[in-house]
């Protein structure tokens, strides 16, 4: 019915294998984003991009609990979700550079990467814009009885969009297998969420009939544990759920957001980076558990770095789509 992202996953793998796979994914996202920032600063990337640095544990912890056939919908800050769901960095970079070899033939760009092969219904540049799509995918999964689950990723800013409540209500009424994952990094662009969000977020979801809980978004194991529970519940017919992952974006709202002092203190950023870096926290745990040693983790780092360098080279070398492709793919 549904196959695992990694063949290994199905097999007789150890907990260490699982953890190191998650670690590798987190490093992939981190280095992917650092390369994106580098491409931007070197003026090699058109437009802007919203980096996922600091939030890696959420996408990885959740997608680790999904099968390849399960669905996700993503946001303007979507590179992490995309990588975590199994996309190939080279074709992602190609998309970010508007190249024909990109996942969307260059037509989508950073905010619209989609990939049916990994169940990625697409990133979305409309805040809250994928809530309907995610709920609809869960609707289809239930009707078709294919046992799939859909994860709807969104930032806490999307709590301002009424359509989110409209679809959560329907998901609860119809017991749809969708998990709404609120990545609460505390900022709607340049405004702190406390200035835009009254009441209590979990109570909102509960009011619409969804079991709601929060999790430390910097702890990949905690995220994975919560997600696994909720996803299996949804798969078994328990209906939708709401999971708020508390996190922080380590860099700007987008790559061009350099001077941030007017909306958040440097000290706040430093504290999070120093004490709450999800990759550092996880590597400390892995070594403490003797699941890996420094050398082993460094090896992963350098392997991923090599992979990313290659992927960037591939994307830079790749050709743009021919101009006459512009009016193809408008209608199926």
């Amino acid at each position: 019915m549904s196959t695992a992202i990694h063949p290994s996953k199905a097999g007789s793998e150890t907990e260490a294998d699982r953890c190191l796979r998650m670690y590798r994914r987190m490093v992939m996202i981190r280095l992917f984003e650092e390369n994106v920032n580098d491409l931007y600063t070197r003026a090699l990337m058109p437009g802007l991009a919203h980096l996922y640095i600091g939030e890696e544990a959420i996408a990885v912890g959740i997608c680790e609990a999904l099968t390849n056939d399960d669905y996700i919908t993503s946001t303007h800050r979507g590179h992490g979700h995309c990588v975590a769901k199994g996309a190939a960095p080279d074709r992602m970079f190609a998309e970010l550079l508007g190249k024909e070899a990109g996942y969307c033939k260059g037509k989508g760009g950073s905010m619209h990467i989609a990939d049916p092969a990994t169940g990625n219904l697409g990133a979305n540049a409309i805040v809250g814009g994928s809530a309907g799509i995610a709920t609809g995918a869960a609707f289809a999964a239930k009707r078709l009885g294919n046992g799939r689950v859909c994860i709807c990723f969104f930032g806490e800013g999307a709590l301002g969009q009424g359509v989110l409540y409209e679809v959560m209500n329907m998901a609860a009424l119809w017991k749809l297998p969708v998990i709404y994952v609120c990545e609460n990094n505390m900022y709607n662009e340049y405004t702190h969420y406390s200035e835009t969000t009254a009441g209590d977020i979990l109570t909102r979801a509960a009011g619409f009939g969804l079991p709601a809980e929060s999790v430390d978004g910097q702890d990949v194991r905690a995220v994975n544990a919560a997600a696994s529970r909720l996803i299996e519940g949804a798969r078994k017919g328990a209906g939708p759920a709401f999971l708020m992952a508390n996190t922080y974006r380590f860099t700007g709202h987008h790559v061009g957001d350099m001077s941030r002092d007017y909306y958040r203190a440097k000290s706040e950023e430093q504290k999070w980076k120093a004490e709450r870096d999800p990759i550092k926290l996880f590597s400390d745990w892995l070594t403490a558990q003797n699941m890996a040693d420094r050398a082993g983790l460094d090896k992963i780092q350098s392997e991923v770095k090599a992979e990313m360098d290659q992927a960037v080279q591939f994307a830079l070398a790749a050709p743009y789509p021919a101009v006459d492709k512009v009016d193809q793919d408008i209608y199926a």
Binding site: Y103, G106, I133, A134, G136, A137, F139, I330
Partner: protein
């Protein structure tokens, strides 16, 4: 229209719509209907009465009053294997769905480089003179015509409604299908045999040689009525119905304009910045050297539709007004 050979019976436009849905739901169990009061109530206009009895509440689904939400659900369901038909009770409510239809449904295919598809249909109503006032009388189809990625259909007869709706449901793209709420009881011949009508093919509802009346939906019947009146004055009016506004059958419209050299474009949407402007400029360019007179546009008056009957009646083109304008254009006073 069906060839006379074909066996037909009289159906109302509402019955034709229901029959199209029922046939497609039997043919393809991925097709389902969702909207407000569509099940037991069969919609506020009773167009879907009985559908739930045959297909059950899972395929004829009552929704909360959440037009944006259930339109969004339809987009996602369409991407992942279903064929949703969403019901928007009054076309005036499409404003609530514009983000879902325009930023999501219309763009998913293109933005994904052609990978994801959104085979969904939105059925909505248009039309005034129902004494429903400004928020329940608009004809806002022009908004959708302006958006690449969408197709827009406006049937004017039971025959066209059935054939075009079946085509819409089988289309791989989001289609917006507008039904005139005042025409649900309008009767016309519909073949017993199954049939579909391709998009992008205008239909000449009446042949003529002196003037062309290009009309959509409700206005087709205003045009036909005016054509009858003109006949008595020896003016032969051709009535052409584009049937689909996107894709638009420009050739048939332009050919008729070239033939008659005079054109009136009729649409119940607002005249300003609406459908009549697009068609009029297509004709003015395409038949530039053949036109005897400027293309005349006639749409809804540029005013929120008033409730008071005498005022409301003044906002929509009538047979008589069209007749008079046409006569004047043909040089009769």
């Amino acid at each position: 229209m069906p060839e006379t050979a074909v066996a037909t019976r009289e159906l109302t436009l509402g019955e034709a719509v229901r029959e199209a849905l029922a046939e497609e739901m039997r043919r393809d169990n991925r097709v389902f209907v969702m909207g407000e009061d569509v099940a037991e109530a069969g919609t506020a206009f009773k167009v879907l009465s009985g559908l739930v009895d045959e297909f059950g509440p899972e395929r004829v689904l009552d929704t909360p009053i959440s037009e944006a939400g259930f339109t969004g659900v339809a987009v996602g369901a369409a991407m992942t294997g279903m064929r949703p038909v969403v019901d928007i009770m009054f076309g005036d409510f499409v404003g609530l769905t514009m983000d879902q239809m325009v930023n999501q449904a219309a763009k998913v295919h293109y933005m994904s480089g052609g990978k994801w598809r959104v085979p969904m249909v939105m059925r909505a109503t248009l039309g005034a003179t129902r004494r429903s006032a400004a928020q329940h009388s608009q004809s806002l189809h022009a908004w959708f015509c302006h958006v690449p990625g969408l197709k827009v259909v406006l049937p004017s007869t039971p025959y066209d409604a059935k054939g075009l709706l079946k085509t819409a449901i089988r289309d791989e793209n989001p289609v917006v299908f507008f039904e005139d709420k005042m025409m649900f009881k309008f009767k016309g011949p519909v073949p017993v045999e199954e049939y579909t009508i391709p998009f992008g093919v205008a239909d000449v509802k009446r042949e003529g040689s002196d003037i062309t009346l290009i009309a959509t939906s409700s206005m087709v019947h205003v045009a036909l009525g005016a054509a009858k009146l003109l006949e008595e004055y020896d003016i032969s009016a051709e009535v052409v119905d584009p049937r689909t506004l996107w894709p638009l059958d420009e050739k048939t419209l332009i050919d008729s304009a070239k033939k008659t050299s005079r054109v009136i474009v009729l649409d119940e949407g607002y005249e300003r910045y609406g459908v009549t402007a697009e068609i009029a400029s297509v004709i003015a360019a395409g038949a530039f050297f053949d036109l005897e007179a400027p293309v005349k546009r006639m749409g809804a008056m540029h005013v929120p539709i008033p409730f008071s009957p005498p005022l409301e009646d003044a906002t929509v083109p009538t047979e008589k007004v069209v007749f008079e304008v046409a006569r004047a254009m043909c040089g009769q006073k």
